[in-house]
């Protein structure tokens, strides 16, 4: 059974139905939630059927001729890394829907919102499962359409500007990548399956060609990730889009950048990746520090959280381009864990904004007494973002830093500073929001409702579980990372 194709088709169909059939509008949220729960069940089946002893191999592989004339196939399949991100997407989407259940939309608008979310989910699953470079590219670019409408139609005052900024950045990166994709056909073996990642692995490219191709791919991924200096679209988007949209965007979709670095850059252009590593690591460290410093300076919570992500993505990229088993493994694990923690933060900030209508930190204060459960939840999720031991991001961050130590000690030392800064921006935010005397306006704040707890607590449970038993997740990642590194370290390493 082509399980992966079904997992791509299910949310795509559900989303398209919601967007086109007016009859579904009255029950759009329920319908969408049903689809995502079904999707989650399918992903659980995927997880159960996954052979852990061969986590490094591509499983559930499907290959159909798609456009044989230009060497493109509909080729899907997952190893442990792809699987972990598909799980992340499947877990987060229903939670985002639950978190946004009470958004004040008329039925037609609500149907459009959840419909677009479902279509985006289809793209996420497709991208993490794509084994064909052209298919990956097509999904990578086409995904911009639902996201563009999600950002531009739903959110704050400046949402149109944010949507256009997002689109221009992504499109610029994507088009640069397109040149490289076209060129890959001609440097590769050609034929009807020319774009399969397998066909393109282990090419003996001329160094200049390989480097150019690498740079083109890397720029696209760095914009997506987002990495300093091409990160500026993210705060704008985060500030103006709905919290749910941003949660999905940062937690899952941006992982396509780091995912692409691991599964495409390192594998297809191993020599160029090593050639570029010092520069990339430099920018990664810059992201870590710069993101953290900017986060401290933010008054807008949405911008603040988005800058923390810039910082955290820097750590992932540092791990990837340190080329150590532990560091890359840590980066892959961090991609999953960061998804949990940052989605939680965005959703919680969204809840606060729903209550008081402003993202400004200074407008709040003393909420701890008024809403202790919300405060406690916020604290735990916040602590996960600063990598407190016992919560899952801690493990991944330590793995990256310890793993990378032997390769790039200076970079690690500077990045540790970022971890310290993380404590500062998270705790400062918490302090301003929740501690101190409760102002008049904050006294009547509503406590975390049951629905909101349902949206957040599963994330906390997962973070605790993976914080104490990280091996549960790591076992999926060890072998795929080893396989990638075997190629990336290749000859002359």
């Amino acid at each position: 059974m082509p399980l992966l194709t079904i997992l791509v088709a299910l949310p795509a169909l559900g989303g398209l139905l919601l967007l086109t059939v007016p009859g579904l509008r009255a029950r759009a949220r329920e319908f969408a939630l049903g689809v995502t729960v079904l999707e989650l069940a399918g992903v659980v089946a995927l997880l159960v059927g996954f052979d852990l002893s061969a986590a490094g191999d591509i499983q559930f592989a499907e290959t159909y001729a798609w456009i044989p004339q230009i060497g493109a196939s509909w080729a899907l399949g997952v190893n442990g890394i792809g699987l972990s991100l598909i799980v992340l997407a499947a877990v987060l989407t229903p939670l985002v829907l639950v978190a946004g259940w009470k958004l004040p939309d008329e039925p037609a608008r609500a149907a459009r919102y959840v419909g677009l979310i479902l279509v985006s989910q289809a793209f996420m699953v497709g991208i993490f499962a794509a084994r064909d470079v052209l298919l990956f590219y097509v999904l990578f670019e086409a995904m911009l359409i639902p996201l563009y409408f999600l950002i531009g139609s739903f959110g704050g005052e400046q949402r149109r500007y944010a949507a256009v900024k997002f689109l221009i950045y992504s499109l610029a990166g994507g088009l640069i990548m397109l040149v490289a994709v076209v060129a890959l056909y001609f440097v590769g073996p050609g034929g009807e399956q020319a774009f399969l990642i397998d066909s393109l692995t282990g090419l003996e490219l001329a160094p200049v060609t390989e480097r150019l191709l690498f740079v083109a791919f890397f720029i696209a991924f760095a914009i997506k990730a987002p990495m300093v200096p091409v990160h500026t679209w993210l705060p704008t988007v985060a500030e103006n889009a709905r919290a749910g949209t941003t949660a999905l965007l940062v937690a899952v979709l941006d992982k396509i950048g780091t995912f692409g670095m691991i599964t495409l850059c390192l594998v297809l252009f191993p020599n160029a990746s090593r050639w570029a590593a010092p520069v990339v690591v430099g920018f990664a460290v810059l992201s870590v520090i710069y993101g953290a410093l900017l986060a401290i300076g933010q008054d807008n919570m949405l911008r603040l959280v988005s800058f923390t992500s810039v910082s955290h993505f820097g750590i992932m990229i540092l791990g990837i381009f340190a080329f150590q088993q532990t560091s890359v493994e840590g980066a892959a694990l961090y991609m999953f864990n960061h998804g949990l923690s940052t989605a939680g933060l965005f959703l919680l900030v969204g809840f606060l904004i729903e209550r008081h209508g402003t993202p400004s930190v200074t407008a709040y204060g003393g909420l701890q007494k008024a809403v202790p459960v919300l405060a406690g939840t916020f604290l735990i999720v916040g602590l996960s973002a600063l990598s407190l031991p016992g919560l899952s991001p801690f493990v991944s961050e330590i793995m990256v830093l310890v793993g990378a130590w032997s390769a790039v000690p200076v970079a690690v030392i500077i990045s540790v500073l970022g971890v310290v800064l993380a404590a500062l921006y998270i705790l400062l935010m918490y302090q301003k929001l929740f501690t101190g005397p409760t102002p008049e306006a904050m006294a009547g704040t509503a406590e975390l409702s049951l629905r909101e707890r349902v949206a957040i607590w599963p994330l906390i449970a997962l973070m605790l579980l993976l914080g104490f038993v990280p091996a549960l997740a790591i076992q999926y990642l060890t072998e795929p990372v080893a396989a990638v590194l075997a190629i990336a370290q290749g000859v002359g390493a």
């Binding site: 097509v138 531009g152 949507a163 221009i168 397109l178 040149v179």
Partner: protein, 525 residues
């Protein structure tokens, strides 16, 4: 001087003959049938039957003809898979255009003036309108133009190429002028198009004369064979070739021969604009391919850099100037200039790839173009008495269309995305194969510039999407816009939208068609 009667394969010429014959018959109908309504019905039916019959004979021919194809007229017209493919493309696009030409609003208003001879705003015009006169010459004229294009894409001889060029241009000069509304603009456009077109034709003809003077040959095959004999830098041949190129690039709308495009595209009745943007550009591209890969490419004249320079200038200028436009028709005109540049990128590639990729590109671009202009015919101004006014060209008037007419706006968004080359639309596959062709022969710097131009172009396509979806509709009377879907345009929008999606998701069947046809038969002696 001996005169040898040409050997003519009438069967192979059948598609062209059907279309031209129907055009001639249509002219007769104009003279014989007096009642406007009957005449109109007959003309539309005749055109439809002719197009379908011609398309059927193209398909029948392409099944029977294989290998080198048929020499239809004494080495001057080659009916091979390549020319049949183009004739098929032209016919399909023409069928869709016919729907736009024949389209009428609820008040039976066509896109064409009832009486072209009456001066704009005169009493005669008002009378003609009240009497329900209808101008139906446009159907035979369009057929004659189409017949010329079908010959244009099949000919392998320079003089006949010129004849075909004039054949399809002359009717266009007329039908550009006969818009129902904003007539002065249309007449101005027609005069501009005619003057510049005549000038370009003269340059083309001069080029042919120079080539003939130098080589005493005008057939592609013979010229190609001369390659071995003539030096690589024979000035007469070089200048002649450049002039021939200029004539073709003018029809393609490439920079610096593009100046007519925005004015003509804006002034012409929108169905005619669609017809020109989709078909004429396609035919020009096909003829350019045949000339380029037929003989110019083989003579080592180093004309490459001209094509590169023109391609770069066309892409960049089309995309950048489009950014500044405030009229939807002018914006689409500049976008079509940009697309001419993208087509030219393929010329940097090897012949077979260039042929197949340009054909696909023109299909994708032609469908989106017809669809987009069909949408333009639907978005109208509202006059003071509440009836439909002229088309709403100002971009500001398109604000909020997504709320008012969701389907129309969605289709327009799809066409714009296809123009921009976003994946899952036909335009992406088109760009991909064109870029692929260029990269195959080391044209990656050209592709890099093409990509930059695409990024710039994406900006103004997206701007219109922003207007339609994220901007509230204007509520002042001046900007009031009315959308009353008409049958023909709705069909065109639906068909082209579906085709754009299908070709974007599963393009392999059309790609295999264009690849099979990517054989140029020139060396038939």
């Amino acid at each position: 001087m001996n005169f040898t009667a040409p050997v003519i394969d009438w069967i192979a010429l059948l598609p062209i003959l059907i279309v031209l014959g129907a055009g001639a018959l249509g002219v007769l109908l104009e003279a014989l049938i007096r009642v406007p309504a009957t005449r109109r019905t007959l003309q539309v039916a005749l055109s439809a039957i002719a197009l379908v019959a011609a398309l059927a004979s193209v398909i029948a021919l392409s099944v029977t003809i294989d290998g080198p194809g048929v020499d239809a007229v004494s080495r001057m017209v080659s009916i091979d898979r390549q020319s049949l493919l183009w004739q098929g493309i032209l016919l399909v696009l023409a069928l869709l255009s016919l729907l736009l030409f024949a389209d009428r609003t609820r008040t039976r208003e066509t896109a064409f003036t009832p009486l072209a001879s009456a001066s704009p705003g005169s009493v005669d015009e008002a009378l003609a309108r009240r009497k329900g006169l209808e101008l139906t010459e446009v159907f035979p004229l369009a057929l004659l133009s189409l017949g010329g294009m079908m010959l244009f894409v099949a000919t392998t001889e320079l003089v006949l190429l010129f004849v075909a060029l004039e054949m399809f241009s002359l009717p266009l000069y007329i039908i550009v002028a006969i818009a129902r509304r904003r007539r002065l603009l249309a007449q101005e456009a027609a005069v501009k198009y005619f003057l510049l077109g005549a000038f370009a034709s003269a340059v083309f003809l001069f080029g042919v004369a120079l080539v003939y003077g130098a080589l005493v040959r005008t057939g592609f095959a013979e010229i190609s064979l001369m390659a071995a004999v003539i030096g690589s830098r024979d000035e007469l041949v070089l200048v002649g070739f450049v002039f021939v190129l200029v004539g073709l690039l003018f029809k393609l709308g490439a920079v610096p021969f593009h100046q007519w495009t925005p004015d003509v595209y804006e002034g012409a009745p929108t169905p005619v604009t669609a017809f020109m943007a989709a078909l004429v550009k396609g035919a020009a591209a096909a003829a350019l391919l045949r000339v380029w890969f037929g003989f110019m490419y083989r003579l080592e004249l180093e004309l490459d850099w001209i094509v590169w320079a023109v391609a770069i200038a066309t892409m960049l200028l089309g995309s950048i100037v489009a950014l500044r436009q405030t009229s939807i028709k002018r914006m689409l005109a500049y976008s079509s200039i940009g697309h001419a540049g993208f087509i030219l990128v393929a010329l940097a590639g090897p012949g077979d790839l260039a042929l197949s990729s340009v054909a696909f590109y023109v299909i994708a671009y032609g469908l989106a173009t017809l669809g987009a202009f069909a949408v333009v015919t639907q978005v109208r101004e509202r006059t003071e008495d509440g009836s439909l006014g002229a088309e709403a060209w100002r971009l500001g008037q398109w604000a909020g269309l997504g709320k008012r007419s969701p389907l129309l706006a969605a289709a327009m968004a799809l066409f714009l995305l296809s123009f921009a080359g976003i994946p899952l639309t036909a335009g992406f596959i088109g760009k991909f194969v064109v870029f692929g062709a260029a990269v195959a022969d080391g044209g990656w710097p050209l592709v890099l510039i093409a990509v930059i131009a695409s990024a710039i172009a994406a900006f103004f396509y997206v701007r219109l999407i922003v207007l339609m979806y994220f901007t509230d509709a204007p509520d002042d009377v001046e900007n009031a816009v009315a959308v009353e879907p008409t049958r023909g345009a709705s069909v065109v929008v639906a068909v082209t939208a579906v085709a754009t999606l299908v070709l974007g998701v599963v393009p392999s069947w059309v790609l295999s068609l264009t690849q099979d046809a990517a054989v140029l038969v020139v060396s038939r002696l």
